[in-house]
Amino acid sequence: MASVAPDKILEIKQLISNHLSQSDINNTIRDVLAEYSQRHPNSGPISRDHLIRELKNRGAVDSMMQNIQFGTQQPSPRQRQKSLTTTTRPTVSTVDTDQLVSVPLEQVNFDANRRHLYLQFLNGKAFTGKNNAQKFCLFFYFEIEILDYLNEPQSEGYPGYSSSSLASSFSISILFRNQRFRTRPFACAGEPYINQGFLLELHKDKQQGKINFTSNKKKYFI
């Protein structure tokens, strides 16, 4: 520790603090505390050992450690091995992200020898909802209805992940150099929460471009 410059230590502390805030560990700790005070109403504050044990039991520590990325975006040898053995799949995949701005790519296997464009849809704003007009033709006269889809009743549940098929929902489809993807449906809202990313292969080297992905790509077609 003595060989590390003080500003580096500060930087490391900042990184740790950032990671802790991103991992949503505070909420987990709050849950543990609430549960503890309910179970033991008269035992005073929780001990540190007990708290850590509870967090370990809930898997919070494990999941936090798994999300740590070391160095640059190079995948570990094991990940690379995995991506080699699964080359029949397209290297490009949907990435689920938990944070609005950060870029956790740890769940994706991709070929680090090719450059990719990582395109994330974070959120939407100022959706007017009165753009899509539908027209109905009824015997000799025309009637129009401007569908105000923002005022339709939404399903209850987590915003942005409406599970009910009754609610109307948006979806974004993208096409880039023969790669087609589609986001999960997200709620038709004024400020929809999307938070989904796609890894798009930018360039295929001639030696590596021999694998034919067409059979796997069909399911992505719009």
Partner: protein, 160 residues
């Protein structure tokens, strides 16, 4: 691995289409956008946030009735009302060793634009020539109705 010059030469844009599934399960096209992604090559650490303004493509229709006569208007592809904006984050992975300067990117985009407009101009000249020759073949061709130009919703398809 592809270097910055190779990436700069990729003129394909990302086609982004927003659809809406209504309560009956029908899917409607809401917006179509072509995203020029190469600004990310100039950004620090090859990562940048962008705001996409999505415009509608839907047919906005109006009608009014007067003494059992209805008049119906339908605006077509030119009707581009804003639908909303979407925040996106673009990133090159793995990042480039050195960034491209904005001047070079601007020059590249200018060059591509010039080429594309030149191609369109040549096509129009060709089409006009074809039409002139067609009229000269027979006398009756002068009165025959022929539609030689059509317009599609995604006018951008012509450019790509």
């Amino acid at each position: 691995m592809a270097d910055s010059e190779t990436l700069l030469s990729i003129c394909d844009r990302v086609h982004i289409v927003l659809t809406r599934k209504d309560t009956l399960g029908e899917i409607h096209l809401v917006s179509s956008h072509f995203l020029e992604w190469r600004q990310v090559l100039c950004a620090p650490a090859n990562k940048t946030n962008r705001i996409l303004e999505l415009n509608g493509i839907g047919n906005l229709s109006f009608s009014f009735s007067y003494k059992r006569i209805s008049i119906f208007f339908c605006l077509g592809a030119e009707n581009k009302l804003p639908v909303g904006v979407i925040n996106v984050c673009l990133q090159i992975i793995p990042p480039l060793n050195e960034n491209i300067s904005e001047d070079i990117l601007a020059a590249q985009l200018d060059l591509e634009h010039t080429k594309s407009t030149e191609r369109e101009r040549l096509f129009l000249i060709y089409a006009k020539q074809w039409w002139k020759e067609y009229l000269e073949i027979r006398e009756e061709h002068r009165t025959r109705l022929v539609k030689i130009f059509g317009q599609v919703i995604f006018i951008e398809y012509f450019h790509s």
